[in-house]
């Protein structure tokens, strides 16, 4: 790991080779992430007070809200880098890898958002699930991006994968507002079925707000760290794919020459 930053005069020994997707920068970032996560736990479970209505259930929100923020951030990044790939002059595969890595991270954290949200809902509303617009949109979004990842796995060349998934990634931009709007229109016609008549928005005091802020910072750092690593790993996967292909072609040519 240190090889990346240690200046070497001798030819690079195998022992000094870069053995991971990490660099000094990502390690610094990783440490910062762990430290802020520690703060988040301390504030979330310790320093911050219980809410007047929700009582201690509000502590789940310090996990729930930042994961949701991260997931939505990830999907925005996917859409933006899909557009950068598709409309960029060079059709750089780097943008495609960022889009793919970001969508993977987004799906993982959206799953966490849904689960922590259900736990919070059980405590606050008395039910795991409510058909409210935010929840339902999130669930459909989750399924859509699982589909996006499946499209990425369809095969073909890297350029084919990039083009195909960029188009799908951008179609989500049409899809999400329509889904959200339709669910909202649907629910507005019905009685709210909640036990507590709260829609989940809390009047937060200073310390609670600060805890949430710590959470958002921690998860943003985590996102950047994961994104850097994951897109580097995808780059290596692609490279190995190409090398495998080249080797197969060389072999084939050698047979006939």
């Amino acid at each position: 790991m240190t090889a990346a930053t240690t200046p070497t005069t001798a030819p690079v020994e195998p022992a000094l080779r870069v053995r991971s997707s990490g660099t000094m920068a990502t390690r610094t970032l990783g440490i910062a992430t762990i430290v802020t996560m520690g703060w988040l736990v301390a504030f979330g479970l310790g320093f911050s007070p219980a809410d007047r209505d929700q009582r201690d259930a509000v502590r789940i929100l310090y996990m729930h809200v930042p994961t949701a923020w991260l997931a939505y951030l990830a999907f925005v990044v996917t859409a933006v880098s899909s557009a950068m790939y598709l409309f960029g002059k060079k059709h750089s595969l780097g943008f495609d890898r960022v889009a793919g890595a970001s969508a993977e991270i987004g799906v993982v954290f959206m799953a966490l958002t849904l689960v922590t949200g259900m736990l919070w809902g059980k405590l606050t509303w008395g039910v795991y699930w409510q058909w409210d617009a935010r929840l339902t949109t999130t669930a459909l979004l989750f399924v859509s991006y699982i589909g996006y990842l499946a499209v990425r796995g369809l095969g073909g060349t890297h350029d084919q994968r990039a083009k195909r998934s960029a188009v799908i990634g951008l179609l989500a931009v049409i899809e999400i507002p329509l889904v959200h709007f339709s669910v909202r229109m649907w629910r507005s016609l019905h009685q709210e079925a909640s036990v507590l008549d709260s829609d989940g928005d809390v009047d937060m005091d200073g310390l609670m707000l600060f805890s949430l802020f710590v959470g958002v910072v921690a998860f943003t750092l985590l996102y950047v760290w994961l994104l850097l690593h994951r897109s580097r790993v995808i780059a290596m996967e692609d490279l190995l794919d190409d090398q495998g292909l080249d080797r197969a072609l060389d072999q084939r040519r050698a047979e006939f020459l």
């Binding site: 997707s21 660099t23 996560m37 201690d56 690593h229």
Partner: protein, 51 residues
């Protein structure tokens, strides 16, 4: 502090959500890092654009 941890209401749900979140983060991170280490050995350093 609003009471000790033991006095916390619905501690199972709350700790459960924290534990689950961190467990999933750890698992995902581990997978990414392991993938990176495994692949890095097969690839020339010059091809690693981040070095």
């Amino acid at each position: 502090m609003s009471g000790g941890i033991v006095a916390m209401q619905d501690a199972g749900y709350i700790f459960g959500s924290y534990a689950l979140t961190f467990a999933v983060i750890a698992a995902f991170t581990w997978r990414v890092i392991r993938g990176g280490r495994r692949l890095a050995n097969h690839i020339d350093d010059n091809d690693k654009y981040w070095t």
